[in-house]
């Protein structure tokens, strides 16, 4: 398997934390700015794909097993469904946290405002759950496609 050059490895190592932090910012501010769980998860997963391209799929597959990623994705899906069950006293998917005194409970003033991070009720938590799910799912897809298309072929053939 051909090694990539030192320039590619160094630049990807430097860029990966910035890409990850930008993706987490997009996930966490999903209820204030354009973005959300799906978009931010896709950004973080593309950063992970950068690592896969730079260091080769074998080096990444030694550190991360796709069964762990599948477990993380299941945790995200279960968190999303259980967050939907929080408002079951009224209906499924009822936003029962909005308008209370708890975390994320603030109602912003009507119309244009500068945006408050602690608002939105259950929506930021759902964004986090869906973001976890999308990161794990897309990284698992990219990793297993990269492993299956190695030059040497799989060990079974």
């Amino acid at each position: 398997m051909d090694e990539t050059s030192k320039i590619i490895k160094t630049v990807s190592s430097v860029m990966f934390p910035f890409v990850t932090i930008y993706g987490l910012y997009v996930i966490l501010h999903g209820h204030l700015t354009p973005g959300g769980g799906f978009q931010g998860g896709a950004i973080v997963a593309s950063g992970c794909a950068l690592l896969v391209v730079a260091f080769g799929s074998d080096a990444i597959a030694k550190r991360v097993k796709e069964s762990q990623l599948s477990l993380l994705e299941s945790i995200g899906a279960l968190g999303f469904i259980s967050l939907a069950f929080v408002g079951i006293a009224t209906t499924f998917f009822y936003n029962s946290l909005a308008g209370t005194k708890f975390l994320f409970g603030r109602i912003p003033p009507y119309g244009s405002n500068p945006g408050y991070l602690s608002s939105g009720g259950l929506l930021p938590l759902m964004n986090l759950a869906v973001g976890t799910k999308v990161i794990a799912g897309l990284f698992a897809i990219v990793l297993i496609l990269a492993i299956a298309t190695r030059k040497k072929g799989g060990r079974s053939k």
């Binding site: 204030l32 700015t33 354009p34 959300g36 799906f38 896709a42 912003p108 119309g111 244009s112 405002n113 500068p114 945006g115 999308v134 897309l138 897809i141 496609l145 299956a148 298309t149 053939k157």
Partner: protein, 119 residues
């Protein structure tokens, strides 16, 4: 006439994708054609929800002179387009996995040579 240009762009995208699906023989190129058709459909959904002179329906730092329901674009087509994009990614991953499987099985990606299904 000029205000129907986005619909014509949608039709061009769908036609390019259909051409690739019908006339190309490489499976990877057919997958690319399906993805182009899907981009056309997403553009169609977003185009249907546009309101003349509107901005995105986000209230963070919105300019004060905007009329609240009248000068913001419709949010529901954008949410459905988000759904459509994620489903498109899922379908693309499945199609590529099946293409890898076909290449391992038949050592080719030409659809006219994969006809020998009996072996």
């Amino acid at each position: 006439m000029i205000y129907n240009i986005p619909y014509i762009a949608v039709i061009i995208l769908i036609m390019v994708g259909l051409y690739a699906v019908v006339f190309k023989r490489n499976i990877i190129k057919m997958v690319m054609g399906i993805t182009i058709i899907e981009s056309g459909v997403n553009l169609f959904l977003v185009t249907l929800g546009y309101r003349a002179g509107g901005v995105a329906p986000i209230f963070t730092n919105l300019p004060e002179e905007r009329q609240i329901p009248g000068q913001l674009v419709l949010p529901i087509p954008q949410a459905l387009t988000l759904t459509s994009i994620v489903i498109g990614v899922a379908v693309l991953a499945l199609m590529l996995a099946l293409a890898i499987q076909i290449y391992r099985q038949y050592k080719t990606l030409d659809v006219t040579k994969i006809r020998r299904l009996k072996e």
